[in-house]
């Protein structure tokens, strides 16, 4: 944690995006997390992703539950509304907020305790409902704020700082999301900003529920030997199967990708995510194949990162399914919402 407040003004030579805003203008309040916390790197990636997307700060909505990870929504984009809800219930707040206004970009930040234990039901149903949002799990395998209890993502045999050994099998959010038919599923590592930023950008632009499981080590309670969520373990066991480049729709694709090894996926707004295969026979558009591949690798203690699955064309997000008005529900003028006096008078006939 830093004790020095960030200066409000930046150097005039700082680069600006299309809105004329610098990265500094996408920052939030000072982080109160432990020095070296993986979550702060994720925060930095979100800032970079929003800046790079030229996002108007007020068009972003930041949502979270309770826990270390959930605190981070106040550490980025101070020009956006934030909602720090109750433990494990952020998905319902996101669902309601999204129902009211379909035009905003919703980014939820949660943790493994918030998402996989107390909030598992809400996460699962937000995926089913296909709420149009980016859902980031900052996954470190422990409860930080209550000082180091195992979470539901802790691997069997992993050792707590105080010596306990975890007995229960983990819930893997990637396999979970794939089994539920999620249309954008990714895994990354807080230390790999180059991978994380385009994933986040594509996730925000994906029309539907986009989930990114980000391994984000807890330096205080879960960074020791015997932990499978430590920096060292992560560096050794997390490997990208797929590299993703996000290409905003205004830009032409300038890099030459070798035929057969790159898969350009067009997103609904015209932007693209170009996937470059690192492994041989991996097709991220095939959910079943992705599931088998990831599961097989997990058995070998290998964590595959990158954009694991995307199905842009097959995604029917909540409003599309509801056939909601194109004008956000919270902006429809009252005159259009009230059937009026004459309709009521006519309706009364049904009740005589």
């Amino acid at each position: 944690m830093s004790f020095i407040n960030k200066p409000k003004v930046g150097h005039p030579s700082l680069p600006t995006n299309a809105l004329g805003l610098t990265r500094r203008q996408y920052e939030g309040s000072m982080s109160t997390l432990c020095a070296g916390c993986g979550h702060d790197s994720v925060t930095a990636a979100i800032i970079e992703a929003c800046w790079g997307l030229d996002m108007r700060p007020e068009m972003l909505v930041k949502l979270s539950g309770i826990g270390c990870s959930s605190k981070t929504t106040s550490y980025f984009v101070s020009g956006a509304h934030g909602f720090n809800s109750v433990h494990g219930r952020m998905p319902s707040i996101a669902s309601g907020a999204n129902a009211a206004n379909r035009e905003l970009t919703y980014v939820g930040v949660s943790g493994d305790g918030d998402s996989l234990s107390i909030g598992l039901g809400q996460l699962v149903h937000a995926i089913r409902r296909n709420v149009n949002m980016l859902y980031v799990i900052e996954n470190n395998g422990v409860y930080g704020l209550t000082k180091g209890q195992f979470s539901a993502s802790a691997d069997v045999g992993t050792k707590a700082k105080r010596g306990d050994v975890n007995q229960s099998p983990p819930i893997d959010p990637v396999l979970l999301a794939l089994s539920l038919g999620a249309t954008f599923v990714a895994r990354s590592f807080s230390g790999d900003k180059a991978q994380l930023v385009p994933l986040m950008q594509a996730g925000m632009r994906h029309r539907g529920f986009a989930i990114i499981d980000v391994l984000s080590p807890c330096v205080t309670f879960n960074d020791h030997e015997g932990s499978t969520k430590s920096y060292i373990f992560t560096r050794e066991h997390y490997h990208a199967a797929m590299e993703a480049d996000f290409v905003a729709h205004a830009e032409p694709i300038t890099v030459d990708y070798p035929q057969g090894e790159s898969i350009p996926v067009e997103l609904h707004d015209g932007s693209r995510v170009v996937l470059r295969k690192l492994g041989a026979s991996y097709d991220p558009t095939d959910a079943a194949a992705a599931y088998n591949f990831i599961e097989g690798k997990l058995k070998q203690n290998e964590y595959v990162t990158g954009l694991i699955h995307i199905n842009e064309a097959g995604s029917t997000e909540f409003h599309a399914g509801n056939n909601s008005s194109a004008v956000p529900l919270n902006r429809i003028p009252y005159e259009k919402l009230s059937p009026g006096r004459a309709a009521l008078e006519k309706l009364m006939g049904r009740y005589r």
């Binding site: 720090n84 809800s85 219930r89 998905p91 319902s92 309601g96 129902a99 008078e345 009364m348």
Partner: protein, 612 residues
């Protein structure tokens, strides 16, 4: 026809109860009879006593024909239409002396049905129907229509009105219309030929129902949400609130689909549980939509955590609690007013909530609209405490009316222009000295951005663990509740106000209280009556309590929850409040009120002296 025992003038003043098996289609036959009487200009109420079950268990429907337009359950049965052999013994017992029992004499039960003081009328309904129709299911359904026909003859109900109702229901299905009309006639003709029609208990045309409708409270509340401009409804199915969302959805499909584009100007979300339902309401309301959830007691229990967040973070939301019998799962299909304390102080920590108490479906409609206005004006959860009796039974109400000049009160929400004119926006500062601060919506301006949280915050909206800063906000919330007392609906006063004895009540007790007052008047006991419509209690409640020496608090729960709330939240001395309680799960009748008041008066000579 046996001799008629004890037959005073009971024209337009009697109760018919139908004993049926649920899932056999009896409900439509019963409401056919009720609606026909209503169309003859005679006030009626219909009460459904049904099991928490889909098919095969006993169910009862009660029609009170009431020329004086009493809304309460009568508490007696004059005519029992006993169509469920399984419940014969108790159905026979329930008929008032001098009353009638109608049963299907295809299978004679003379021994079982013997009671000297009532008249048993056998009609071979199954035989009549089986001789004329094919198909097991068809025969079961049409037998119901046949007894409706018999009843029409016995009660002198205009059969042409029933035929009219059938045409309205089956106008587009000529085969169904034909068989229903025929079945109705079978029962009707049999009665005319074999029974002495009409009975002394009969219906005669009046003109007391014009300008009125028969509607249930959940339908009226759902309609109210449409007129209030609600666009997001989130819910988890629970008896007896489910039909509220069904109604909202049905009305939205009728009124809220853009004819040009087919797009929906609403979203109804069936949540995974009540925790999520209220979360969605909070999220949508926070984002500027009018959002609501209908539920019942168990749902409120689950929603407590979010209700506290909405209270503390000051997010408007509207919750309909259609109360049922508790504790726990209780009796889901029976009525009670037992969530008063639960809702008043829902959630941990210091919380107090605005409650509205509709007394009938008409008020469900208007209070639904008021609930949204209050929630947004006060930026807090508002509970509408209906109950199963109001929500699911058909009540006679004046036509619902609407003023097209109505515009929603969205409360203090700053626009982009207003924000531009501010130096800096602070979410929880009391700028107007009414304890209500200004809020902003996402997507409007980066200047309006703030962080909504259930954790400790200061008046500037930032996180705090500082005692003084925390208390500034908490104290303002207390003052805001005082502001709320000025905005909520005023209580309704009946009586001159100068009587020494008074009744205070809420919600669906109203019908029983009014009827009791008439009975007491005839016994020369005069009482004043205050019906509380909302919590927090305003000055009117306080002064009414202080002006009366003996006050009877009438409510439908075991623990005198309204009385408790009054002793906690007003200056009244506990000793002056006498409880009259009904918590059987059946809608209250006037009897316990009359008995309760007369009993206390008999024990208190000074009070009985005021009988004039």
């Amino acid at each position: 026809m046996p001799n008629l025992v004890n037959a005073p003038d009971r024209v337009n003043d009697f109760v018919v109860k139908f004993a049926n098996v649920n899932g056999t289609g009896s409900a439509s036959a019963n409401s056919l009879v009720m609606k026909a009487i209503f169309r003859m200009g005679v006030p009626v109420t219909g009460k459904n006593y049904f099991p928490s079950n889909i098919q095969g268990l006993p169910t009862w429907y009660e029609i009170r024909v009431t020329r004086d337009a009493y809304a309460a359950r009568a508490g007696r049965v004059d005519i029992m239409v006993a169509m469920n052999a399984e419940t014969y013994p108790r159905d026979v017992r329930e008929v008032a002396s001098g009353g009638y029992l109608i049963y299907d004499s295809t299978w004679p039960r003379s021994a079982l049905l013997q009671r000297a003081d009532i008249t048993v009328i056998g009609v071979p309904l199954a035989k009549l129907v089986n001789d004329s129709f094919d198909g097991v299911r068809n025969r079961i359904l049409l037998k119901n229509i046949a007894y409706a026909g018999t009843l029409a003859a016995l009660l002198d109900v205009d059969i042409e009105i029933i035929n009219g109702l059938l045409s309205e229901s089956y106008g587009k299905k000529p085969k169904l219309l034909d068989s229903n009309t025929k079945a109705l006639r079978l029962g009707y003709d049999y009665a005319r030929q074999h029974l002495g029609c009409p009975l002394p208990l009969r219906v005669a045309r009046m003109d007391k129902t014009s300008g009125h409708i028969m509607i249930d409270g959940n339908t009226a509340a759902g309609l109210g949400c449409v007129y209030a401009g609600a666009t997001v409804g989130a819910w988890y199915p629970i008896t007896p609130s489910t039909s509220l969302m069904d109604a909202f959805k049905g009305f939205c499909e009728r009124y809220r689909i853009d004819p040009a584009t087919g797009e929906r100007n609403f979203a109804v979300i069936q949540a995974e549980d009540e925790l999520a339902a209220i979360g969605m309401v909070v999220g949508a309301s926070w984002n500027g939509a009018r959002a609501f959830t209908p539920t019942s007691g168990p749902g409120i229990s689950l929603m407590n955590e979010f209700v506290g967040l909405a209270y503390y973070a000051e997010v408007p939301c509207v919750i309909f609690d259609v109360q049922r019998v508790g504790p726990s799962t209780g009796m889901p299909t029976r009525t009670q007013q037992s969530d008063i304390m639960l809702c008043a102080y829902a959630s941990h920590g210091d919380t107090r909530h605005v409650l509205l108490f509709p007394a009938n479906p008409e008020e469900c409609f208007y209070m639904a609209v008021q609930a949204f206005d209050l929630a947004e004006r006060l930026q807090t959860p508002v509970f509408v405490l209906s109950d199963l009796d109001i929500g699911m039974n058909d009540w006679m109400c004046p036509d619902l009316r609407w003023d097209d000049a109505y515009r929603p009160d969205r409360g203090k929400v700053l626009s982009a222009e207003e924000l531009a004119g501010l130096d800096k926006f602070y979410r929880y500062v009391d700028r107007d000295d009414d304890a209500i601060s200004y809020r902003t919506l996402p997507g409007v301006s980066p200047k309006g951005a703030y962080f909504t949280r259930g954790s400790g915050h200061n008046q500037y909206g930032t996180y705090t663990e500082d005692s003084a800063e925390y208390q500034v906000v908490l104290d303002r919330l207390k003052r805001k509740f005082a502001t709320a007392a000025k905005y909520v609906p005023k209580p309704e006063l009946l009586g001159k106000g100068g009587n020494e004895i008074a009744i205070v009540s809420i919600g669906s007790c109203d019908g029983a209280v009014r009827e009791a007052i008439d009975v007491l008047e005839r016994r020369k006991i005069h009482v004043d009556y205050l019906r509380i419509k909302a919590f927090p209690f305003g000055l009117e409640v306080e002064s009414f309590l202080s002006a009366h020496a003996t006050i009877f608090i009438v409510e439908q729960n075991r623990d005198a929850q309204l009385r408790s709330l009054l002793t906690l939240e007003t200056a009244v001395e506990k000793a002056r409040l006498h409880s009259i309680l009904s918590y059987s799960g059946l809608p209250m009748t006037c009897q316990p009120i009359v008995d309760g008041i007369c009993g206390v008066l008999a024990d208190a000579p000074r009070l009985s002296a005021i009988k004039r």
